[in-house]
Symmetry: C2
Subunit: 492 residues, 2 copies
């Protein structure tokens, strides 16, 4: 029904993306904003058809799809605001000093400009919010980049509907053709051809470690390497401090169980690892957790591949020596379902077996039982890069462990106290990204206002006549944006 | 005299850099500032010995070394200011909304934190300003990273003196040992071992395309890829608009000749390419340029390798079919000297021979003669990524060519009108970097205040008790920095 885009069309598509870029990049922020708002409107106008299609293709429940649609239109409107307000370009102005000795200082003005055509890979687990009109697409369009989206093969029809909405918005707001293009590829060849094309200037991807790393390698090996923003693999450790745990084992278990099973565990921020001292508090916690997990229900997963992958990886994790199952949902579920399960392992075993630190994408969490603070610290310093790290601990107890937060800052992009990692707020202060293998570029966030910075690069204009400067850098500040002028922030 | 650091010491060095990082990263900005200012003082305290040593090792004249020392201490003090002032961390605060429906918003606060130990490779052509205490080292230290510098083998003694000054500053300001370390390596093995070490988190390099690309490839192929900021190769095109040229052929020739021959052409911003319409204005310009070049003097180059490289590459360029010499310095000079030379080639030939777009590091420039606007535009769109692109054109004539600046923005990090590319101002609005192969990461500058951003990554703190937040994010804003709070800029 959705045959792969023929490889011999990729060059034409990228040429068009490039051509469109050369005009789209100069469009005023408010026009890009109008386009993004129109995309949001058109997605909403798809109404029930979009909801039903996404439900059918992903097995996600209606409420989730509706919430995700809200998130998608929400970030389109947020990036519209960012583009329209305009200060995101980080304008810097250093005015000329013609009399400076020994040499005059020229007038220098710098701002971020869009990086070029961006290739976006839709994600399986967010058919709307991280797919065709997802955060990558919306932030790239807001920055002034053109976008080529490869539809995720697990939900091509949803992707086609959203692509249609974007194309309608292009027509309604008079965007040049080629600002947004949509291709299909169930084989890897289509994605590879896009990433290797010389006119592609950046890549956005959300998916597996193997997939993300393959794209990163391909992009790094190009004659002209390009940045890849791949969000890949994270087990989102949750650290339980013993005094706090002892006081609230039931509440913490409840909170965590809800996070483990949320959306059948199909979130990049799913808490896949719990680290705690082995004591009676932990025992009580596990007992509470076990009761909740046992009563939880298996859920239908996104698609056959994801379900098979969960079963295979879960089986493999449970087969490792020293791993013991603490609790599993009573109901086993079908081959398409993910069964919530929690296991535990002693720290010594965890540290010696790299397989235990790998992501099991689904409703599974592994508790690492640490016999002493020494093991506890070794487990934490052993962690790979993560999207998030969570600590359950009250203020007094946290203060006793200053080295803990100090160490976690090196491991994750977002640190959470007494919350859960699932639930990624779309706002300026969000960091959704982290050291490898969580993402390929820990210097940028994939969610929130600053996600726009992934698709831009600075350019300085030296000694330019004012009339030839971009508006963001003109002397009169016609856009009224925040600028750093001779090292002072201001709007004048 | 300076044997290579044994490879079996690299692990210990990187372990120490990591250990020092875990405490240094938390040091207040004003303490890092005191350290950087002390480095500047200690470099000045080296006095005449440093000047004489650098002169002997690099063949650069005294005035240049003294100016470069001023630039080096200047950027140490500038980054001290940036670290002390503190707003560079891009603090973002989104306060909690406990009553928001359908779900409460947690308190989220984000800031840039230092990325980890940085490996810095000294540059041959700037023994002070881009070497041991160069912009990479100073900005990394300002960000809170620890640094391991590999001395450039062409000036190990200069490097050792500066390293001694930094180490003295470490002692005087009580820095943890390992904040700065200095190694030697005339073989590539030492640099490779540093870049491959798992505790290295970023790399700074200034040098050849081959060298920079090799480090980039090595870093990208690591189990955990790390960013490489390599500044490599740029021919810095200068575009002459015909009407302006016709009016001022002598003045433009004088300005350009001075830039071509400055420092024996040993600058990454040396104008190696001139693009112009073939007309009488160009002929007049070439005549003026030829007279100045003929009277210019060969200069002793940095070291044997650079001189040999200039002669080999120049010979190769001149051997290409269609290239004609327009002028050469009358005096041929010695094997260690670079002889200023200007050649020209028709656009048709330039476009067909990729070798002509390669950098010839030294006082050489190639003029591309375009028979029509069509050829002119084709030459410009054919350009690789550059550090700079310069246009000689007055405002009225520039306005007639809006597509020109539009195209150049895609090609270079800094655009200059009616100036020369040499002379890189150290300020907030500077962009020293550009699309590949100018640098490996066009999203960052190597010079100026924003160079600090290369060595940092964002981390978000969710739901943290105020007492456990870094000062930059505390509710009371104790550092008095600029922050974005609920999408509004301010200092409260």
């Amino acid at each position: 029904m959705y045959p792969d885009t023929p490889l011999d069309q990729i060059n034409g598509i990228m040429q068009q993306a490039h051509l469109a870029f050369l005009s789209y990049k100069n469009l005023e922020g408010k026009k890009r904003a109008a386009f993004l708002r129109c995309i949001a409107d058109e997605i909403e106008a798809l109404g029930e058809e979009l909801v039903q299609t996404a439900m059918r293709e992903t097995n996600l429940p209606e409420a989730r799809i509706i919430a995700e649609r809200g998130r998608t239109t929400g970030h389109c409107r947020m990036f519209a605001e960012v583009a329209e307000e305009g200060s995101w370009v980080e304008a810097r102005i250093d005015t000329a000093m013609p009399d400076r000795m020994p040499a005059p200082r020229p007038d220098l003005r710098k701002m971020l400009v869009p990086i070029g055509p961006v290739v976006v890979f839709g994600a399986a687990n967010f058919p709307l919010a991280y797919s065709t009109a997802g955060g990558d697409t919306a932030s790239a369009l807001a920055a002034g980049c053109t976008v080529v989206v490869k539809a995720h093969p697990a939900h091509p029809q949803t992707s086609t509907l959203v692509a249609g909405a974007i194309q309608k918005a292009m027509q309604k707001t008079g965007m040049p053709p080629g600002v947004f293009q949509h291709v299909y590829g169930s084989s890897v060849a289509v994605g590879q051809a896009l990433v290797k094309h010389p006119l592609a200037k950046a890549v956005g991807f959300t998916g597996s470690l193997a997939g993300g790393r393959a794209l990163f390698d391909l992009a790094s090996q190009r004659a002209e390497p390009i940045p890849v923003f791949a969000e890949m693999s994270s087990i989102n450790p949750v650290i339980l401090l013993p005094e706090t745990l002892k006081r609230n084992p039931a509440a913490i278990a409840q909170r965590l169980a809800a996070s483990i099973t949320l959306g059948v565990g199909q979130f990049c921020t799913n808490p896949g690892l719990v680290i705690a001292l082995e004591d009676e508090g932990l025992r009580a916690f596990i007992d509470h957790l076990a009761r909740i997990i046992e009563e939880s229900l298996p859920g239908t997963m996104l698609h056959t591949g994801i379900a098979q992958n969960y079963h295979t990886r879960l089986k493999r994790a449970l087969e490792q020596q020293g791993v013991q199952v603490e609790a599993a949902a009573r109901q086993e579920g079908t081959a398409m379902q993910g069964r919530p399960l929690v296991a535990s392992v002693p720290a010594e075993v965890f540290l010696q077996n790299a397989a235990l630190a790998e992501e099991v994408f689904g409703p599974f969490s592994l508790i690492v039982r640490c016999g002493s603070w020494e093991w506890f610290n070794r487990v934490i310093s052993h962690l790979h890069g993560q999207l998030t790290a969570t600590v359950q601990g009250d203020e007094d107890e946290l203060k006793k462990h200053p080295a803990l937060v100090n160490m976690l800052v090196e491991k994750a992009g977002r640190l959470i106290v007494n919350g859960v990692p699932t639930g990624v707020e779309v706002c300026a202060a969000m960091m959704h990204g982290g050291p490898y293998p969580a993402t390929t570029d820990s210097r940028f966030t994939a969610v929130g206002r600053d996600a726009i910075k992934r698709f831009a690069r600075p350019v300085a204009f030296q000694n330019f006549p004012d009339s030839l400067l971009p508006d963001a850098l003109k002397e009169s500040n016609p856009l009224l944006i925040w600028r750093m002028r001779n090292n002072q922030w201001g709007k004048e």
